[in-house]
């Protein structure tokens, strides 16, 4: 009995030791954002191509693969004002973050390096309308930065079975 009670007192060794430890708490998010790794997936952006046009070609690969079915793309073919070549453009690109699961499959399949995820988070709102990303908002997100490391090309290069060096993964 005595032995058992003395053993119980060892519990205090842990709590007392921890009283002296440095605390591990992150700053509150409205004061300073936590440091995220570069692959962090928390939002979306539609990037521009090298000509400054939207890179999306409205191929609907992301719309088809999205398990959640939240992406709706409508496109049309027209002449590019920059290069003069005919290509497809998205007329509307709606991404309803209310049902997004951040699985990165849209990035995985994108053929034109257009859609990317962001490390900056989606801000909570008081209505569901706050969470709908339209084409304008997606492009504005891209200009704002905080893009995740994984582009469609980089992801696929990393997963390529032909890849020789095992290092991989560096940005």
């Amino acid at each position: 009995m005595m032995r058992a009670w003395i053993d119980t007192l060892f519990a205090f060794s842990t709590t007392l030791r921890n009283v002296g430890r440095r605390r591990v708490t992150e700053p509150l998010p409205w004061k300073r954002l936590r440091a995220h790794p570069e692959r962090y997936r928390a939002g979306f952006a539609l990037t521009d191509d090298e000509h400054g046009e939207v890179a999306c070609i409205a191929c609907k690969a992301c719309e088809n693969v999205c398990p959640s079915g939240i992406i709706r793309v409508e496109g049309e073919r027209r002449e590019s004002p920059v290069t003069g070549k005919k290509r497809a453009y998205p007329v509307s690109f709606v991404l309803d973050m209310n049902a997004c699961i951040f699985c990165e499959l849209c990035v995985q399949v994108c053929p034109s390096d257009a859609i990317r995820m962001r490390t900056a988070w989606t801000i909570p709102g008081t209505s569901r309308e706050d969470q709908v990303l339209t084409l304008e908002r997606l492009r504005a997100n891209a200009r704002e930065g905080h893009l995740s490391w994984a582009t469609p090309g980089r992801l696929r290069a990393m997963q390529d079975p032909e890849r020789k060096n095992g290092e991989g993964g560096e940005p």
């Binding site: 119980t8 519990a11 205090f12 842990t14 709590t15 921890n18 605390r23 708490t25």
Partner: protein
């Protein structure tokens, strides 16, 4: 200046005025101390767990408890249909009333408490053990099964630990030869704190008193009546708003009262190095309260039957033995003197 002192002396000598003034001052201070204890518990448990605890409202989060209070003041009144309405609504203020009342005989200054009763120890213990009735009534009147289980456990536990609590409080009484709390403290003058002198029964009685008062105040490892992980919120499951606030407040005041009693009975009350007085008493009571909190955030809890077995197989006989040891010491020391 002397006029003020005269006025104070007059107040002190007239019974009802003394009760009134001391009552208001003591109760206000004790309520603030209870608020402070809640704040301290949240900060200290945070410290133990490498997190800051409340920080945002006021410096170090000290206003947090007031925000909670104002919030509770505005919550809707709920009385579930199935309850025994009258009892259900009547019980919560009783909790606070009972624990606050026990302070009438607990002295914090050498001049004595509001009512320096000749049976102070008994009265304090008796009133604070009344706590079991509102808790039981709350659990039963709720007509909720979790509350019923909580109330059943609370009653069984409180009445069981009543015995070692009273018996271990008898040890200082025997050593001092009086039930009056001021005289018990007086008997501990010159560093003859009963926790350390006579060596043995005093310290053991303190340990018993401390553990039993943990059980009386429903603190871990003896908090089975309101074990959140088992009984949702125990007897208070159906209580919301300020009705719950009363239980919440009562719990912390109870802890402080029990710590004050322990300080008076075993640690010489206001005796201490330098000038005696309120500061030593408060310091001792608060240190004991802090230790209760530290224990709470370190240990897990017993099962109710283990708890009762612990009481009846170890605590009660141990307390009896201690009473006899104290009696023997008293007689032998008296015979020697």
């Amino acid at each position: 200046m002397s006029r003020v002192l005269d006025a104070l002396r007059m107040i002190w000598e007239i019974g009802w005025l003394r009760g009134l003034v001391v009552g208001f001052v003591t109760l206000t201070v004790v309520m603030l101390i209870a608020a402070f204890t809640i704040w301290f518990e949240r900060k200290w448990s945070g410290r133990m767990q490498n997190r800051p605890g409340p920080t945002e409202r006021g410096y170090g989060g000290w206003l947090q408890i007031f925000a909670d209070f104002f919030k509770l003041l505005q919550k809707e009144n709920l009385t579930p249909t199935a309850t025994d309405r009258r009892l259900f609504d009547f019980v919560p203020p009783i909790v606070v009333f009972v624990v606050l009342s026990s302070l009438a005989v607990v002295p914090y200054v050498p001049q004595g408490p509001a009512a320096d009763a000749s049976v102070g120890v008994l009265l304090a213990l008796a009133i604070s053990s009344l706590m079991v009735f509102p808790v039981w009534a709350a659990g039963w009147s709720s007509n909720n099964k979790w509350a019923l289980l909580g109330a059943m456990r609370a009653v069984a536990q409180s009445i069981s630990y009543e015995i070692p609590l009273v018996l271990s409080a008898l040890v200082p009484v025997i050593l001092a030869g009086s039930f009056r709390l001021t005289e018990i403290v007086g008997a501990q003058a010159d560093w003859h704190w009963f926790a350390f002198w006579p060596p043995g029964p005093g310290l053991a009685a303190f340990v018993l008193f401390y553990l039993s008062s943990l059980a009386e105040a429903n603190r871990i490892p003896f908090d089975i009546p309101e074990a959140e992980s088992e009984l949702v919120a125990g007897a208070t499951t159906e209580y919301g708003g300020m009705k719950f606030g009363m239980f919440y407040l009562g719990e912390y005041v109870h802890t402080f009262v029990a710590s004050s009693l322990a300080a008076l009975l075993f640690f010489g009350g206001w005796e201490g190095p330098g000038p005696d007085g309120l500061h030593w008493m408060l310091a001792k009571a608060l240190i004991l309260t802090a230790s209760v909190i530290h224990v709470r955030w370190t240990l897990v809890r017993y099962r109710s039957d283990q708890l009762l077995r612990l009481c009846w197989t170890y605590f009660v006989p141990a307390a009896l033995v201690l009473v006899f040891a104290a009696g023997l010491w008293r007689i032998l020391a008296g015979g020697l003197a």
